[in-house]
Amino acid sequence: MQTLGGILTQALHLALMLVLAPLVPGLVRWLKARMQGRRGASPLQPLRDMRKLLRKRPVLAENASAVSEVAPYVAVVATLVALAQVPSFSHGMLLAPLGDLLLVAGLLALARVALALAGLDVGTQFGGMGAAREMSFAAFAEPTLLVAVLTFAILAGTTNLDAVAATFRDGQLGLRVSLALAGLSLLAVALAENARMPVDSPGTHLELTMVHEAMLLESSGRHLALWEFQAALKLELWLALLAAMFLPFGAAPGGAGPLAWALGLLAWLVKMAGLMLALAVFENAIAKMRVFRVPEFLGAALLLALLAAALLFVSTGLA
């Protein structure tokens, strides 16, 4: 029963993620437009773009190597596998034992490296610029993520994603300053990882400052579609991660029945919607910062995370 439930939930989870992925950026874009008083494109626009791109014939540069062709698949698969471990509406999914925050970080790094290599493959200066910046930002984002993970690990005793989420859902931890700080730092990381507003402007293609788009200039057709899909998956993954960590209520415990799943699904959708709204508000409120201030932004986040851990050490007499 347990395993069957695990398999079922896992399958449902995957399907849900795959379906919802293209909607997430579309919804955020739409919400932003609404707030700016524009009508904005339909939330389904990204889905349409991808379908169209898939149908187009992909063109590769003459000197493009196999890297350009393989990288998008690698990135998508890595992100997908990472996403498959983030509990959405239920715990105790099939891959729960595999799910591990460090592994998620590793898979994201794999996707990032694939993207950067693809950007470098043809040897154009924009691709190089984007790759260099992407990897450099990661040098600040990853420690922040890890220190935030440290906070969870201290509270939950493990880095297993499912276990951490379950611990938080049971909620005997209560509200903690350190959790709030860790949450803030994780938000900053999420923005940087997804090339969102203060770090990068997802809407525009302003060549000189963009990071993520710069690496895709040479890709087209299904490759571009895969890249777009990967970006969407990543955004979804981060939102889901934040939801699972900081809004753990509602998710169905492992081995629960379909009813609990439905409730959990509802709760999850609400959470995601809330997060997307928050993201849209934030992106409207704040302006893009200069590239070389990003380290300061992420450095501040890192300090916040460290502060959270330190607070945890001193506040609760651990060990």
């Binding site: 014939r57 190597s65 890297v67 200066q125 579609a225 460290l306 851990a309």
Partner: protein, 674 residues
């Protein structure tokens, strides 16, 4: 078993002697390297056997030794683990050397000696034999670094290298002396029987960190490393980075964890943790800023050695806090990473050697696009790059996962200071990993991707068969080590037992790695992960294939709107490609300025001027400028001052004798008066 081991050692020594006449002819050199390969295989098999037999063999007293005793050999778990590493890396390096023997005749004879020295240092069972092997290793590797001594750069690097080796010996011997004086014997058994305590232990710790740390390449005494590694032949560099540095790690582990006894306090781990974290970040950062393949790889070695040291420090601290399982976790991470790093770094250095030979340069700004000319090399290098960048499911990720698990468990020691340090260490280790990934992407992108940057690079060819094997084998090993970390750790159990006592439990179960401790543990199941990845990949591939049937077409690069390069630029317009300095620039500004006093000067021509713009990026190693140079200057000043004595006339020399006599007499009178 030990007899066979000593026979292999003797064979290596004979090979070194025989190499002097043999090295002149390529066939002879090939024979020598083949012999090295055989010996390395023997060593690896013996080590493997010893590990399966759970180590702890008897002590063999050689019939000869220093005048006051006999040399002792033993093959316990720790020795076997490092001997295994040595055998693997040495074998691969020898195989690669067989591929093109006529490279440098001067580099043939010391090679077997280097192997022998390392093996001796690893299997020694008394401090004299240990240091003997250690110094033979240093001397042989000096000879290898200096093999091409016609270039001043090489000579400078070789001199610095040997001087640092002398320094490490000058620090290690007093450390041994403190231990020996306390225990009253040179053998490991005697030292184990009487572990030091108090200031004595502190002195030993400091001296060991200076001696073995500088040899391993820990900051701040690692200025020699990025200079010495690049100038040696490729297979030598591979061995230096893959094995020699790890022998120093072995010395650290052996003395700090094993010989100094389990009763050391918690703070013993702190200096290792700090030094390791610092080295990791500094090395990884510098790997992003350098412009020479081998230097980049050497700096990444610094980073990995730093990570290993973090593991050792954590093991010490956990043991000091009576957290046995966590100590096993940290030590296991260190051991596993030692092996993984040894293999993939060997692979990368060998690939760098192939690139240098086939494309004619080590300088990143002269290479590019080699993935088309050298696909096999590129594929193997990509595996190594992935491992070095700690990407799942490759070997680097497995050991760094363990290491991060150990760091994340650092708070369990209960000591707030250490908790904060461990948190900072977590951040630094993660940053080092990310920086390493950036460096590796930059390396692969500049060397193998993009377009050639010089005609010579455009004329590169794929390497020969033998050489290709020498690249494929470590690549396959890297994959296997990444997929089977659990069994490898189970194999390392004897080593852990040597370090932490019989009770040490391996942080692995079946094919999985176990992180954390207590009720909730985190799992890392590389095989399952691979399965999931493949399944997902299949799924995605099928879906995409179904939805987008059209074949890809080749077209001109859009290239940000630049026009096609003219025909007289056969390999494209170099100006429109990112350069090493360009890819380095973000980190150069973000971190380099702070940590490496990195400066960049740009001089842009006025609009309408025809002269080219100039961009110059420099960085200085603070350790070298603030430690080595002042020491050298001080030495010079004292020497110049003392040199005044040279011009003394006979009379003044005599007056010195008279003065000595008078002083001694006065001293005598004073002493007797009292």
């Amino acid at each position: 078993m030990l007899t066979a081991l000593s026979l292999a050692l003797a064979a290596l020594l004979l090979l070194g002697a025989a190499a002097v006449p043999l090295a002149r002819r390529p066939a002879g050199a090939r024979f020598v390297h083949a012999g090295c390969l055989g010996a390395c295989v023997v060593l690896a098999v013996l080590a493997f056997w010893a590990l399966l037999a759970s180590g702890g063999g008897p002590v063999l007293a050689l019939p000869f030794g220093p005048p006051w005793g006999r040399a002792l050999l033993a093959l316990d778990g720790l020795s076997a683990w490092f001997l295994l590493l040595l055998g693997v890396t040495g074998g691969i390096a020898s195989l690669y050397a067989m591929a093109h023997p006529a490279a440098q005749p001067g580099a043939v004879p010391p090679f077997p000696l280097l192997l022998a020295g390392m093996a001796l240092a690893v299997v020694a069972a008394d401090v004299f034999t240990l240091l003997f092997g250690f110094e033979v290793m240093s001397l042989a590797s000096w000879a290898l670094v200096a093999a091409d001594h016609s270039r001043a750069e090489t000579r400078r690097a070789a001199r610095l290298y040997l001087m640092m080796a002398v320094l490490s010996a000058a620090c290690l011997v007093p450390a041994f002396g403190l231990l020996v004086g306390h225990a009253g014997g040179f053998s490991f058994a005697a030292l184990r029987a009487a572990p030091p305590a108090g200031w004595l232990a502190t002195g030993v710790l400091v001296l060991l960190l200076l001696g073995a740390g500088s040899k391993a390449g820990l900051a701040p005494l690692n200025a020699w490393l990025p200079r010495a590694y690049p100038v040696a032949p490729a297979h030598v560099t591979a061995l230096l980075s893959g094995a020699t540095a790890n022998v120093a790690v072995y010395v650290l582990a052996r003395l700090l964890l094993d010989l100094c006894g389990p009763a050391q306090p918690l703070w013993w781990g702190v200096p290792l943790l700090v030094l390791g974290a610092g080295s990791a970040v500094l090395g990884a950062l510098r790997a992003n800023l350098e412009g020479d393949i081998k230097v980049v790889l050497a700096c990444s070695s610094i980073e990995n050695i730093g990570l290993i040291t973090i593991g050792l420090g954590l093991a010490l601290a956990f043991r000091g806090a009576d957290l046995g399982p966590l100590a096993a976790l940290a030590a296991g991470a260190a051991l596993l990473h030692t092996l993984n790093h040894g293999v993939f770094k060997t692979l990368l250095f060998l690939a760098a050697g192939s690139v240098e030979r086939m494309a004619g340069s080590r300088v990143l700004d002269r290479l590019g696009g080699l993935i088309h000319a050298m696909p096999a090399t590129a594929a193997c290098a990509l595996v190594g790059i992935g491992a070095a960048a700690a990407l799942p499911p490759l070997s680097g990720f497995a050991s760094e996962w363990l290491l991060l698990q150990a760091l994340l468990a650092g708070w369990r020691t209960g000591d707030v200071t250490f908790q904060v340090l461990a948190a900072a260490g977590t951040a630094l280790a993660a940053m080092a990993a990310a920086l390493a990934a950036a460096a590796m992407v930059r390396l692969f992108g500049l060397v193998f991707l993009g377009r050639p940057r010089t005609p010579r690079g455009a004329g590169a060819r794929e390497v020969g068969r033998l050489e290709r094997w020498a690249l494929v084998i470590p690549a396959v090993l890297t994959l296997l080590l990444g997929l089977l970390p659990g069994p490898m750790l189970a194999l390392a159990q004897p080593a852990l037992a040597t370090l932490l006592g019989r009770a040490a439990a391996v942080p692995a179960q079946g094919f999985a790695l176990l992180g954390g401790s207590g009720e909730a543990v985190a799992w890392y199941l590389p095989l399952a992960l691979l399965a999931v990845l493949l399944a997902a990949g299949l799924l995605v591939a099928l879906v995409v294939r179904a939805r987008s049937p059209l074949e890809t077409r080749r077209g001109p690069t859009w290239d940000g709107g630049f026009i096609r390069p003219p025909d007289y630029l056969p390999f494209g317009d170099p100006l429109t490609q990112p350069s090493a300095a360009g890819l380095a620039q973000p980190l150069h500004r973000m971190l380099g300025a702070a940590l490496y006093a990195a400066r960049e000067t740009v001089d842009m021509p006025r609009p309408g001027e025809t002269r080219a713009a100039r961009h110059r990026a420099t960085l200085a190693d603070p350790a070298h400028d603030w430690l080595v140079l002042p020491a050298g200057r001080l030495r010079g000043a004292v020497a110049s001052w003392l040199e005044r004595m040279r011009d003394f006339t006979v009379r003044r020399c005599l007056s010195f004798g008279f003065g000595t006599l008078v002083v001694l007499l006065a001293l005598l009178a004073w002493l007797e008066a009292r």
